[in-house]
């Protein structure tokens, strides 16, 4: 029999749609302006990705080192500094005050990034 019954068809499409959703989530998560409370910045190939992140005040940003070389997260104003992060090492910081926070890797200072912290209340319009 080669005729697919309607239930099988539905299952097939549902599975495909789910897969698409997962894929979309996986690909857009690191680059979209971060609205959620928790955001991850990946360190790979001696770069912070995404390099610029916008979060609401109160959000926690976690850096995750995927390089085979250790890195650090150092605020340009010395507000925060991680211990050295070896491969798979993570560092989190919670940003409570709105502002622009520049940071860099103190071992490889050409690696730079920015966290923009917006007020937690007020406009909900995503930019």
């Amino acid at each position: 029999m080669y005729i697919m019954n309607s239930t099988t068809m539905l299952n097939f499409f549902a599975a495909a749609a789910l897969q698409l959703a997962v894929l979309a989530g996986a690909t857009t998560f690191p680059t979209a302006p971060a609205r959620a409370a928790d955001t991850t910045v990946k360190i790979g190939n001696f770069t912070f990705a995404p390099q610029g992140v916008t979060v609401k005040a109160g959000s926690t940003v976690t850096w995750d080192n995927e390089d085979d070389i250790p890195h650090t997260i150092a605020s340009s104003t010395k507000l925060f500094k991680s211990k050295v992060l070896d491969t798979d090492g993570k560092f989190s910081f919670t940003f409570t005050t709105p502002g622009v926070y520049e940071y860099f890797c103190s071992l490889h200072p050409h690696m730079t990034g920015t966290i923009v912290v917006e007020a937690a209340t007020g406009s909900n319009i995503a930019q």
Partner: protein
Amino acid sequence: MTDHGHDNEKASDGVSRRKILECMTWAGTGVLWTISGGVPRSLGIIDEAMAQEAGGLTFLQISDSHVGFDKPANPNALGTLEEAINRVKAMPVKPSFMIHTGDITHLSKLSEFDDADRIISQARLDVHYVPGEHDVIDDEVKLYRERYGRGTKGAGWYSFDANGVHFVGLVNVVDLKAGGLGNLGNEQLEWLESDLKDRSASTPVVVFAHIPLWTIYPEWGWGTDDSARALAHLKRFGSVTVLNGHIHQVMQKVEGNVTFHCARSTAFPQPAPGAAPSPGPMKVDDGKLRSMLGITNVTFRRGQQRLAIIDTPLQS
């Protein structure tokens, strides 16, 4: 060491002679350079006999041991350091001393410093160190300073004399600025100026530091922001040799009376500038790794203003 007999053996194994020569050219292996009046001249392929004839002051440079590194590019960085030291022990002419241009350890851990010492001390040579950024990870640079900082200034800079040659060890891996490169800083530059001030321009000077003191590839941080100020103090000297590490490959440049040279790592190779998405550790075939790691031998012939820099891979 490179010698023709060994090359011929390889050639008979099916590797073309042209291929070997290409490889040697890329690696700068065993080519003896002399500097006379600022003009570099290759004297050809070095062999052990020539090294023995060299006489004068001979010292070694090792760099970037990264003790503690265990990633795929070289799961046993301590083992390859030991191979390098075994090469030193086997040298026909014992060098006067060794300099280590930093990244002794991978993560500035006490156990890594201990392991590095245990292996390097087997060479039974005085070793003059400068730190790499991997050696100053701990706050206050405590471990490096306790071990290697005796008699040094600031973050660990110093100078000494040997056989009429003035050696200056500089630190360009601390207090780095966001978006910047290596950094010497005002205090060290002022010290350098006063250190060199009363010396005769005919004194050969060797400057060593971890990060290159010439701009190789700023996109990867391969340079030092204020190195031009250091070089200005060195300008009047007739023979200046700058030895660096950090980039894990041999690279050389001559500018006026200054010869810049970067040594191989004993731990893992890094890609040529811009040849990869990042300067991270480069994974090569296991059989090829030891041809990309190595040590550097430097010889001065007194009175002739001649300098020879010989890079020797762990395996050619």
